[in-house]
Amino acid sequence: MMEREQRYTQDPLFWRAGAIAATIFMSMVLVALTIDTLRQITPGSPRVPAYDVINNSVGYEYDPARAEYAPKIGGEELIFGHKYSPEEAAELIGKGKLVIQSRACIDCHTFFGNGGYYAPDLTRAWMDPVWSIYAGPKRADKLAAFMMHPLRLGAHAMPDLHIQRDEAEAAVAYLKWMSSVDSNGFPDRFGAASGQ
């Protein structure tokens, strides 16, 4: 059996060439797609709005043309009684991200469906029916108050993570900005069941 005539398919070098070719080709395609994707998800692009979108109303509606839900950005609707310049908004959103990372929010919650599965997804938290009964400015205050002094909701309670007022405002701004990102219809039918 060992002495059978050797064909090229029995030569490891043949398969090595295939492995190298597949890896190089796929890596090059990935690099090209990465360059394009990064361009499309830079803040200020149609898919990912600029950070000062937090000065506007943000909703999530069914778009018949796309046959899916999509964010809808409306007119001015300030939070915390302040109109943020693009620089201020970027700084606030940066701080919001630090709040989210420092408290490891993602290890209980999910963002765009990625994270801990133990607590609700936060992708559209800004327009969740729990909060959207309040108009924009009041909603921001309610959300910030909840983060600082969490109430029991359902079976689970959110822990008190000693979030300060300035941190809570930054995190709320972050959730509002994030809810404006076009995530290809995820989550589907958000709020539809509750008539929102």
Partner: protein
């Protein structure tokens, strides 16, 4: 025995300890689901989960390092270059892990400052370890890369397996650098985070475990190097050929363009192929050896690795990867079911196989066979299958009722948590988790018991036949 092999055994021992920590914190995490309010504000769920999933990464990483420090000198018939440095780094690694665990247990979280990122918690899933510790892991990986490359160059020879390993070191080290940035744009953050998580776990690590299993097969059943290396190349071609763009299945919903639906859906549907190839390979090797090997525990764990990788990673992954299903299954307990099964099948079983192989050759014990390893094999695998099944029931319930019908709101999430199938799933996961923990205890008992068997080498062999 080479110094490198002694270091390999140390890494495998540390890895087994981390395995235990991971199991303990996994069990703890599962209690929060069935006992709402458990340890609220004392030790919150997210911290328990962090120790569970970071423990998983460290367990496997230490297992891989142990396996390679074990096989490398045998492959080249010489001591590993820079072994003294590697020995120092082992203790640095262990100390760093211990400090990070203490910080997670007692400090838990900080305020929204850069200092928190550096010293407490980076708050990015799987790479929560503070930056200083992440730098430490880079140093360990750097020295490891130097060990492999330096030894191969000094030996002035290489083998197919070593060539693949050296090639794989590049993404292994470079991708980990992705553990540091803190980007304010969540879309970009997750885009790069998946380069780390997917391209490490579903590509770089798959190749790494491919190299380790190739060595395992050669040492375990005397498989032909020519056949094993050809298979390894085929596997690399398929794993990277499908896995690199299979990355796209994580880019459906994070703000990234729509073309990822087609690319991610197509290539991730192909991702099970190399894993199926490994099953074919393992069955072929098992059959040609008539299911017999001198080291039966290592042999059965190798088979478990092949099947677990294919079913847990391949089939369970495929089940939820197409965007039409993923829209509802993404980010539910269904994902957790796949995650548990895939990590266990692809990597956990492989590390345990190497553990038994190193134990036999390293300590010169022939009498590894006995009842204990069979109990641990059965308990661990039954425990895992039970957890995976329970999480799948809960996850499907969640996908249908919270996601598809409920529309994913907070209200829908909380209502779902009260649904009987979800509650039963969480109890089932806890119960089978306990079984899994018993399997771990049995594994540790068996590993320690081999010392005692040394004196009566022939008896366990006889007992195995009964």
């Amino acid at each position: 025995m080479y110094r490198s092999q002694r270091l390999g055994l140390k890494y495998l021992t540390a890895s087994t300890v981390m395995f235990g920590a991971m199991v303990a914190f996994g069990l703890l995490s599962s209690i929060y689901y069935i006992w709402p309010g458990f340890l609220l504000n004392v030790f919150n769920f997210n911290t328990a989960k962090i120790v569970h999933i970071d423990g998983l990464v460290i367990w496997l990483l230490m297992g891989f390092l142990g396996a390679i420090y074990w096989f490398l000198p045998q492959e080249l018939d010489r001591e590993v270059e820079g072994i003294a440095l590697a020995e120092i780094l082992f203790w640095v690694f262990c100390a760093a892990v211990a400090v990070v665990v203490v910080v997670f247990l007692f400090v838990q979280y900080g305020s929204a400052t850069e200092a928190s990122m550096w010293f407490i918690n980076q708050g990015r899933k799987y790479v929560e370890a503070p930056r200083w510790a992440a730098l430490g892991i880079v140093a360990v990986m750097g020295v490891f890369a130097y060990n492999v490359l330096g030894t191969t160059f000094k030996a002035r020879k290489s083998t197919g397996i070593l060539t693949v390993l050296m090639f794989d070191l590049v993404p292994l080290v470079v991708l980990y650098l992705d553990a540091f940035p803190e980007m304010r744009n969540m879309s970009q953050d997750l885009f790069w985070w998946w380069w780390l998580v997917h391209l490490w776990v579903e590509a770089t690590w798959e190749v790494l475990i491919g190299c380790i299993m190739a060595w395992t097969l050669i040492h375990l059943v005397g498989a032909s190097r020519r056949v094993v290396e050809s298979w390894l190349y085929v596997e690399v071609a398929l794993v990277l050929g499908t896995g690199i763009l299979g990355l796209g299945h994580h880019y459906f919903w994070i703000g990234t363009p729509r073309y990822w639906f087609a690319i991610g859906g197509f290539f991730s549907a192909l991702e099970p192929l190399p894993l199926l190839g490994m099953v074919v390979h393992a069955v072929y090797d098992a059959g040609s050896n008539h299911l017999r090997a001198a080291n039966r525990p290592a042999f059965y764990w190798t088979l478990a690795e092949a099947f677990g990788n294919f079913i847990g990673g391949g089939v369970w992954g495929f089940m939820m990867t197409l965007p039409q299903i993923n829209l509802y299954s993404h980010g539910t307990q269904w994902t957790a079911s796949h995650g548990h099964f895939a990590f266990w099948g692809a990597y956990g079983c492989g590390v345990i196989a190497v553990l038994y192989l190193a134990l036999e050759k390293g300590r010169g014990y022939e009498g590894l066979d006995g009842r204990a390893w069979k109990w641990s094999f059965a308990l661990l695998n039954t425990g895992m299958l039970g957890m995976v099944g329970a999480l799948l029931v809960a996850g499907m319930d969640q996908a249908f009722y919270e996601r598809a019908i409920g529309g994913s709101t907070w209200g829908a999430f909380l209502a779902m948590e009260g649904r009987p199938w979800f509650i039963e799933g969480m109890w089932g996961r806890f119960a089978f988790g306990l079984l899994f923990a018993c399997g771990y205890a049995m594994l540790v008992y068996d590993l320690l018991a081999t010392r005692r068997r040394e004196a009566t080498v022939s008896e366990p062999m006889a007992a195995a036949g009964s």
